[in-house]
Amino acid sequence: MADDGTDRRFLGGPAGWISILLPFGLFLWFAQHIPAVAGGAVLRWDVEWIPSLGVTLGILLDGLSLSFALLISGIGALVTLYSASYLGGHPHYVRFVCYLMAFMTGMLGLVLSDNLLALFVFWEVTTVSSYLLIGFNADEAKSRRNALQALVVTGTGGLAFLAGIVLIGTAAGTFSISAIEGSLADHALYLPIFWLVIAGAFSKSAQFPLHFWLPNAMAAPTPVSAYLHSATMVKGGVYLLARMNPSLGGTDLWFWTLAIAGGFTAVFASVLAIRQTDIKQVLAYTTLMALGTLVLFIGVGTDYALEAAMAFLLVHSFYKAALFLMIGVVDHGTGTRDATVLRGLGRAMPVTMLAAMLAAASMAGLPPLFGFVGKEFLYKAALGAPAMIWVTGCIFAASVLMFVAAGIAAWRPFTGPLAETPVEPHEGPWPMLAGPVLLSVLGLAFGLMPDWAEALVAPAATAVAGRPVEVDLYLFKEVNAAFVLSLVTFATGFVLYLLHGRLRSGLARFKPRFDPGWDRLMDGVAAGAAGLTGLIQTGRLRRYIFVTFLALGLSTAVAVWRAGLSPEIPPLDDLEVKHWSVLTFILAGALLTAFTNSRMTAVAALGVVGIGVALVFIIFGAPDVAITQLLVEVLQVVLVAVAMLKLPYLNHEYVKTVRGWDLLLAISIGAMTTVILLAVQAAPLDLELTAFFEEASAPLAFGRNIVNVILVDFRALDTFGEIAVVAVAALGAYALLKGVRRPSP
């Protein structure tokens, strides 16, 4: 990728320098706190952020957050150094660096926040930056799809987690994790809280059955895979489980859920790892295995288990980041990542080989590497765990397969006779080698001097346990069950490695594929949405009007029924002939409107109804209103009739099918309106306003016609508004007519 760029500035230019120096500086800042934290101190800095919502922004440094912060900033510095070379000339390099820095900020915030809401804010920042980074090669449909998949899966988990946070706030009375007193296990909300937090953690850390997005996320550029999808972001869920262990852990539910999901993920993923031919995919699946292992041991929750988990966290971060970066160098130097093709690269790429071998040995758990120490403690913890057989079985199977995967990923490509590759193999540039070499050497150093790691592992395990945990890491002390198990692991692993070609083709037949299901789900969602929307938004105005009135009819009917409105029907004896005749007149107009097959007749009949209403006004002594009504009615009929001339003919067949329903609805609404009107009529009318208008009209507003005074003085603002309406209507009509004269595009 670097080859296509024209920009050959040193380490990616200013953007690159900032992106390298920033994490490096942060690493140093965090590192200076190691002694204090190792001594048992918990450092915190708090700033109020949104006091009204109980959100504080702050840094809480204990063993757990410091370990994560060091990994995030340290690996961050190496990855950005690597990227400066890997993507330095890429036209979108600056965007890449911005996303990476946004991610780092989010990830650091996630592990440093003590306030759950603040933690969530950063949690989602990592989700979004991960989305943008997976889709970095946006021209490829696969990148776009996989980015969306990761976003939807982790986003779903995130929303569940948010609900969980709200409930934790309710249950504990605070969003501050350190202020949660004791365990929430006995709280009535424990069950929903537990499952919601689990959903968040499992989606982020890709636990079965939410694992499938992670291997797909490898569509991102290699440094992203190394950084986000192996070393840091995907451990966000693990971090959350570790952080919440004192408040939510210790129950049977916690143990069994984490043990089963973690154990199964670990074994399942390592089996799938062996099946892959793309080495990057091998590494992706072994990352799943590591995540499963961490979840499993946090679930076990004994002192040993937590100690082992925290040690393994460091172990894995070192070797896995090194291996990912290594495969990037290999890809860069040979043009392929295919395990079946790559052989004998050692001579051409000696430095890469050194890093690969060291890291792979750590992954295989060979002494004297840190991986050996980690695995010994995992075994030791497993042997003392509840449900010992399950835990030990899982971790044994996973470790054996890790051994095989290490062979596939790092031993085989560098040994044996040199094989043909798309590009003549050549060593990578130093910025790309610095990371893998440093990380793999660290794996060796910590293996030889495990005491160094204690400074972090001990306070981290203490933080996770919520009680002081004594940690004593060592390379070798005595021949015990764990040690024997290690030897068996190596032997089995070695045999399986020799057979891995056959294993792979055997496993290739076993295809637990989640992606077609995912695609079907997405298609189903789209089709379902389209289907439902098609039912609602039909495009037919007639239907819209019907539904609108139906909603009105139903809701007022229920309201009338609830209110028990049953107004008395006023005595009909008072009605005189003129009343009856007007009524008949109106009714006839309405019926004609409803039953005629001609639009023109309907309009005219509607006019009849309007005139009838004007007559009502006259009978009840409001001649001015009647005149207005009459005028409007006549104008309306004339205008609508003119407009009708331009309309297409009515579809009588269609009208017949809907007429019955329309009539029923119209009658119901009419009846409802009558009931409401009668009820309102029955209530006494408050005449305070009328009295005031009558009294004040002449002496205060200097007008004798009260209606006029109301219009131009008491309620002049209404009239002003209505004048505006008329003016705007004129303006609109003018614009429309002008538009009609122009041919419309």
Partner: protein, 504 residues
């Protein structure tokens, strides 16, 4: 002072409309519109600052004391809404200088636009129910004019659906006013608050239902939202932006006002109905969005969906929920108007709003991509943007009431919103342009770039600011919610001391 200040935003907008009308055949009209929008925003800001320092402001029009004349009232909610109207108005007025063709200007675009702003401001400021109706009419006629301006066939079709369904709303609203007057004998909202106490609560609730349906149409809730997705994708981009920002929100505002101040007789029915309507609105709206492939149609259905969140806040009627509704209202206006503005630029440089026909905006127009991403992710409720806090508060309010299903729906709809926003991002921005071209902002002139992008950037910055520093906004929203829940201050401000006296 407040006698002058309260009507000022409305008057400025009207005066601007008249001036702009006279200068419609030249470029002066657009600058009058911009200047008027600036003045209106300043007036609105002064009003808000006065409300925040001195409390609820009241002006009796024509000096006729309430409840006999028309009263303008600015409590915190009203003042905030007028300010946000000013902000949206200014942003769209600036955008329109580069978006609206001289033909449309000559047809009176700027005048119609300013009348619309006047109508919206009037609706927010009035304390009189019938006067509210008048402002609704002003808005309806101005928006109809704007909607069909340009006169394309699709616009006509949209315009007819829009105006028909909105007229039905108007009829319901007007009938409701008549019936309510029959029961109480008053139109002043504060007076109504007092007088309905004496009326038959059952009957008032029936009338309230009528109002609920009428306002429901205006706010575009399920199953009354048909007019919105039928119309919003058809007019000029400036027009759809201001519609998207303000129109439905006036409906929501009216609902919030009436269903806290007047209609609280039978909360189990009115607000209970509202609750399920809100949930159905959120869900059907977002599914509608997921089904579309046009930039503006997707956004239109999102409006529906998000109206559901605001109505939800009102339905729950707790201090937190109402605060969330107010916060959501403000956030939504800023973000939604902005996304429509972005769609206009995308259309300009990529040639369409149909996302299957365009692409490559990420590669070719990174600035626009970024300016889309901010409001888009804010809309989808991602932190640390304004939409997150809005969503969070409403989810918390639902969970506090142990309405698990409602909270689950609100969250699931959030997820679907992400899904449908990324649809635009994935297809219009990430995917290469099917025509093989790379759309670029370079195809616009420097002045077009400035006038189209600066309002977008301004609104995007506002989203980020609200997201990063929500505290003052939360406080104002809390204050607005408290005033709504306890209307005594409002009533006293309008009617004076409990004993009402005839003015002079």
């Amino acid at each position: 002072m407040s006698d002058l200040l309260l009507p000022l935003p409305i008057l400025i907008a009207f005066a601007t409309a008249i001036l702009a009308f006279f200068f419609r055949s030249g470029p002066e009209g657009r600058w009058i519109s911009v200047a008027g929008s600036v003045a209106m925003l300043i007036a609105a800001a002064m009003l808000l600052s006065q409300v925040l320092t001195d409390g609820i402001q009241v002006a009796q029009m024509g000096t006729w004391a309430a409840p006999f004349g028309i009263t303008l009232v600015a409590d915190t909610l009203s003042a905030v809404m007028v300010v946000i109207t000013g902000i949206t108005g200014l942003a769209v007025a600036v955008y329109a200088t580069a978006d609206i063709s001289p033909e449309m200007e000559e047809s009176g675009y700027h005048a119609l636009f300013q009348v619309l702003i006047a109508g919206v401001s009037g609706a927010f400021l009035t304390g009189d129910l019938f006067n509210l109706y008048v402002w609704f009419e002003v808005m309806l006629i101005a928006s109809f004019g704007l909607l069909v301006l340009g006169g394309r066939r699709v616009q006509m079709d949209a315009g007819i659906k829009y105006v028909t369904l909105n007229l039905i709303s108007t009829i319901m609203f007007l009938s409701g006013i008549g019936l309510l007057y029959g029961v109480t004998g008053t139109l002043n909202m504060a007076d109504l608050h007092q007088k309905v106490q004496a009326a038959d609560p059952g009957l008032v609730t029936v009338i309230a239902t009528l109002f609920l349906v009428g306002f429901g149409i205006k706010s575009a809730v399920f199953p009354l939202f048909f007019w919105l997705p039928a119309a919003y994708h058809t007019p000029a981009f400036s027009v759809s932006a201001v519609f998207a920002g303000l129109l439905t929100k006036v409906g929501v505002y009216a609902m919030m006002r009436m269903f806290t101040l007047v209609f609280t007789q039978d909360i189990g029915w009115t607000h209970g109905l509202m609750l399920w309507v809100a949930v159905a609105t959120m869900i059907t709206g977002v599914l509608g969005a997921a089904a579309q492939t046009d930039f503006r149609r997707i956004l239109s259905f999102h409006i529906v969906s998000q109206i559901g969140y605001m109505v939800l806040g009102l339905a729950l009627l707790t201090p937190l929920a109402l605060m969330g509704a107010v916060f959501y209202l403000v956030h939504h206006i800023i973000v939604k108007a902005n996304l429509f503005l972005v769609s206009g630029v995308a259309n300009r440089i990529a040639g369409s709003t149909e996302i299957d026909h365009i692409g490559g905006l990420y590669r070719g127009a990174p600035l626009l991509a970024f300016l889309f991403l901010v409001p888009a992710f804010s809309l989808a409720g991602f932190p640390p943007l304004s939409g997150f806090w809005a969503k969070y508060v409403l989810v918390k309010a639902s969970l506090d009431l142990e309405l698990w299903l409602v909270a689950a729906a609100a969250l699931a709809v959030g997820l679907m919103t992400i899904y449908s926003m990324t649809k635009i991002w994935g297809r219009a921005f990430w995917k290469p342009h099917p025509g093989g071209t790379v759309p670029s902002l370079g195809s616009l002139s420097a002045s077009e770039r400035f006038f189209l992008l600066s309002p977008i950037a301004g609104l995007a910055i506002l989203t980020v600011v609200i997201g990063l520093f929500p505290e003052p906004f939360v406080q104002v929203a809390t204050r607005a919610a408290e005033e709504l829940l306890d209307p005594s201050a409002y009533v006293t401000a309008v009617l004076g001391a409990p004993v009402t006296e005839v003015a002079e």
